[in-house]
């Protein structure tokens, strides 16, 4: 027998654990991806906000600068139109040029005085010079009146030629720590006589103080000029590093505005560069604005911590949820597994029982066959001995009758043995019908003749109603056996003076043979058992029989593709009906 497998308790728990792990992995992955994405987008949005804020502040500063610059330019333009200056230039009075300008500029100059308060003198010029027809500085007669400049500084005011339009430039003044950058505006002076540019006035201004007052926070601006960065509010160490970064930024995005993140002096900054004097004849100068990123980095760190906390909480919740969920999900599956395990063991048991039953059956069939063979020989020997005894002369007349009865009994014994042999062959599945065309009519006639020849104690009347020939497909030997069984029963179980009726007819594809008698009825509760093997009805013990006949007849009829059934059994009439397949007339084959 196959041992039924043990139910796997470990398997259930591992299923649950696997489900839990899978759900946790899934939840972690989804939550992690979602949080990562959210964090990224949040960080990007913070950075964008930051940059927008920076650009907004910068734009506001630039707007202020633009207004200031427009005011300065307008001031210069008004100066360049002054009749005295024109008169000095056009009427050949260059000696009066600077004195006239001094009178005109008396309220536009800061006089070199320190600003009494921050922001004062923001629109005041520190110095001014005129350029001659070749763009060179006209040396003033008295430098004190026009703002003193060193010769190197003054030479920075010269242009290669007179400009057609106002030019903005930047020059460096002073040395070392006092170094500063001044903003200069060169305004062309157009002759009223010939419409040509005859000179230019260059005014120098202190550049606007951009965010320098707010130390450590907000925008810091400086001016990058000729490779040097002037940003007084930045420590010198950081300035060096930043100058390099600014140079790189300017080189990579020449004169365009761009935002870069740079490190200088141990801090991170957002850096923007903007050409201050696009298209100017003066050397290119860039405004370098930096915005400390410390605030942004702190906000990002806070964001990361917040997201990490949220992620931990979320994962914790998700793990708890997946634990609950996996438990709930795995319960029906586990129940199913238990059920199927029970089913499996039941099936194993049934299969084992079936197998053993099958083996028993085979053994018993083999035994029956063996037994039949073993029994047939002694019965034959016995009959031969008895017949020899009958043929002898030393047997008395009484004894002869006894012996004759014994011979008859050996025939019965042989018949039973034959039936058993047949049954055992059928049970073992070794019986095969050799189908051929077969006429039932002669068989019935032969039996009716035989019945007439028997010594009849019952005085039975036989009615036969069948066509002259009834062709079926079957094997003559077994078909005869079926008929003999049924007719023998009809005779055997009949009452004295009773009646037997044999009727045959064709019904569709079938040949139907009904054999009725006037025997005792089969009780209704026994009707379903009469075809079982070794069943004997509640008939007298004197009636010969061994409970094999009907069973054998039905098995054989079914092997022929037909059937045998009890058609009727009541107070006066019991009728069996057997049907065979009709042989088609065109089917070749002679009767055996």
């Amino acid at each position: 027998m196959i041992p039924p497998p043990e139910p796997e308790a470990a398997g259930f728990s591992s299923f649950r654990a696997r489900l839990l792990v899978a759900m946790m992995v899934l939840v972690s992955a989804v939550a992690g991806a979602g949080l990562l994405f959210a964090q990224r987008s949040m960080a990007a949005s913070v950075r964008r906000d930051f940059r927008t804020q920076f650009q907004g502040e910068l734009a506001a500063l630039h707007a202020v600068q633009d207004v200031r610059h427009a005011v300065l330019a307008e001031r210069c333009r008004a100066l360049a139109r002054r009749p005295r200056i024109h008169a000095a230039l056009e009427d050949g009075a260059l000696d009066l040029l600077y004195p006239s300008a001094r009178d005109e500029l008396v309220d536009a100059m800061d006089g070199g005085a320190a600003a009494p308060e921050p922001g004062a003198y923001a629109l005041h010029a520190r110095y001014y010079r005129f350029l001659d027809g070749k763009g060179r500085v006209i040396t003033p007669p008295n430098a004190k009146d026009v703002g003193e400049l060193g010769s190197g500084e003054e030479s920075q005011l010269s242009l290669g030629a007179l400009p057609d339009s106002p030019q903005t430039g930047y020059i460096t003044r002073g040395q070392g720590s006092a170094e500063a950058v001044d903003e200069v505006i060169a305004m062309p002076i157009v002759s009223s006589e010939n419409g040509e540019v005859i000179s230019a006035i260059v005014l120098g201004f202190k550049p606007p103080d951009l965010g320098g007052a707010r130390e450590g926070a907000g925008i810091m601006s400086g001016i990058w000029l000729g490779g040097r960065l002037s940003m007084p509010s930045l420590p010198p160490g950081a300035r060096e590093g930043l100058a390099g970064e600014a140079a790189r930024a300017i080189a990579s995005a020449d004169s365009a505005e761009g935002g870069y993140e740079v490190g200088a002096g141990g801090a991170r900054y957002l850096l923007f560069c903007k050409r201050l004097n696009p298209g100017s004849l003066f050397p290119a100068a860039f405004e370098v604005s930096i915005y400390p990123l410390a605030d942004l980095l702190a906000r990002q760190r806070l964001l990361i911590w917040q997201f990490s906390g949220a992620a931990a909480l979320l994962l914790l919740g998700a793990f708890a949820a997946s634990h609950l969920l996996s438990g709930r999900l795995s319960r029906p599956v586990e129940r199913l597994a238990v059920d199927s395990e029970e089913n499996r063991s039941q099936r194993y048991r049934a299969e084992a029982a079936l197998e053993s039953t099958s083996r028993e059956l085979q053994r018993s069939a083999r035994f029956s066959a063996d037994a039949s063979h073993q029994l047939k020989t002694p019965v034959t020997v016995l009959r031969a001995g008895l017949e020899e005894l009958l043929a002898g002369e030393y047997v008395s007349a009484e004894a002869r009758e006894e012996v004759s009865a014994l011979v008859h009994q050996t025939f019965r014994l042989a018949g039973v043995i034959e039936d058993l042999l047949l049954l055992s062959r059928m049970d073992a599945g070794r019986l095969q019908i050799q189908f051929s065309r077969l006429d039932l009519a002669p068989l019935i006639e032969a039996w009716v003749d035989d019945l007439g020849a028997l010594p009849d104690a019952l005085g039975l009347r036989v009615d036969a109603d069948f066509p002259p020939s009834l062709w079926i497909t079957g094997e003559k030997r077994y078909a005869t056996l079926i008929l003999q069984n049924l007719l023998e029963n009809a005779r055997k179980y009949n009452r004295a003076g009773g009646r037997i009726r044999i009727a045959a007819r064709e019904e569709g594809d079938w040949a139907v043979l009904a054999i009725g008698n006037t025997g005792l009825p089969v009780p209704p509760e026994a009707q379903e058992h009469i075809f079982e093997r070794f069943h004997r009805g509640a008939v007298g013990e004197n009636v010969p029989g061994h409970g094999i006949g009907l069973n054998l007849a039905r098995e054989l009829a079914r092997l022929h593709g037909g059937d045998l059934r009890l058609a009727r059994s009541d107070g006066e009439w019991t009728e069996f009906e057997v049907r065979f397949r009709l042989a088609r007339p065109d089917v070749a084959g002679g009767s055996a």
């Binding site: 009749p83 009066l96 009223s192 010939n194």
Partner: protein, 216 residues
């Protein structure tokens, strides 16, 4: 009566002698081919001086015709006027003899500030209104062309041609001129057309006759 001074006497003598002298003196008349008025901006057309290509010229074009020579100076200081009216100088071109005092009355309701940086005369009258008395004036004692400007109204422009001769006249807009009371003799007659153009020709003046001289 107080005995007259020597000057007075001399002036009296000159005044008495003038009618007879006029009869005896020569005259010149003719026509100056004026320059075409080119590119006169609307604004400058109104104010009478066209500045173009570095050249200042009167608009509409007129010429100043004068006789060059060594003439005795009159001791009596001559005066002339150049007013400011409707934000322009009237006249815009003034010819005066050296030593003439020119008055600049302000006939507008606003301030004017007349000044000149020209080499022939540098001056600055400062700001004043129409009620300024005495009328601000300036003595022009060097011959040459003087460009006048107003410091307040940058477009205002006028020319004063200071000539070292008493014999000059401004032509009409057709260029016609007539000079009377000229001394007989050989002289150079000049026609000033603009700040860069002065034509001249030799003339021989006969007493009692009128010379016809056209430019060119």
């Amino acid at each position: 009566m107080i005995p007259p001074s020597l000057n007075r006497l001399a002036a009296l003598a000159a005044a008495l002698a003038l009618p007879a002298a006029a009869l005896a003196q020569a005259a010149a008349e003719g026509r100056v081919q004026l320059l075409k008025a080119l590119h006169a901006p609307v604004m400058n057309k109104r104010y009478g001086i066209v500045a173009f290509g570095g050249v200042l010229s009167p608009f509409p074009p007129v010429a100043v015709v004068y006789l060059e020579g060594a003439f005795p100076r009159t001791d009596s200081p001559a005066t002339a006027q150049m007013a400011q009216k409707d934000l322009m100088f009237v006249p815009t071109l003034l010819a005066v003899q050296v030593g003439t005092r020119v008055e600049f009355p302000n006939l507008d309701d606003t301030y004017h500030n007349i000044f000149s940086y020209s080499p022939a005369k540098r001056f600055d009258l400062g700001r004043y209104r129409s009620d300024e008395r005495p009328i601000p004036s300036e003595l022009f004692d060097v011959a040459g062309l003087v460009t006048l400007r107003c410091d307040i109204h940058e477009h205002m422009r006028a020319l004063i041609l200071v000539l070292d001769t008493p014999h000059f006249v401004v032509s009409d807009t057709q260029g016609r001129y007539r000079l009377d009371g000229l001394p007989a003799g050989r002289y150079v007659l000049k026609a000033w057309l603009d700040s860069k153009t002065t034509l001249d020709r030799q003339v021989s003046l006969q007493s009692g006759s009128t010379l016809h001289a056209d430019f060119p």
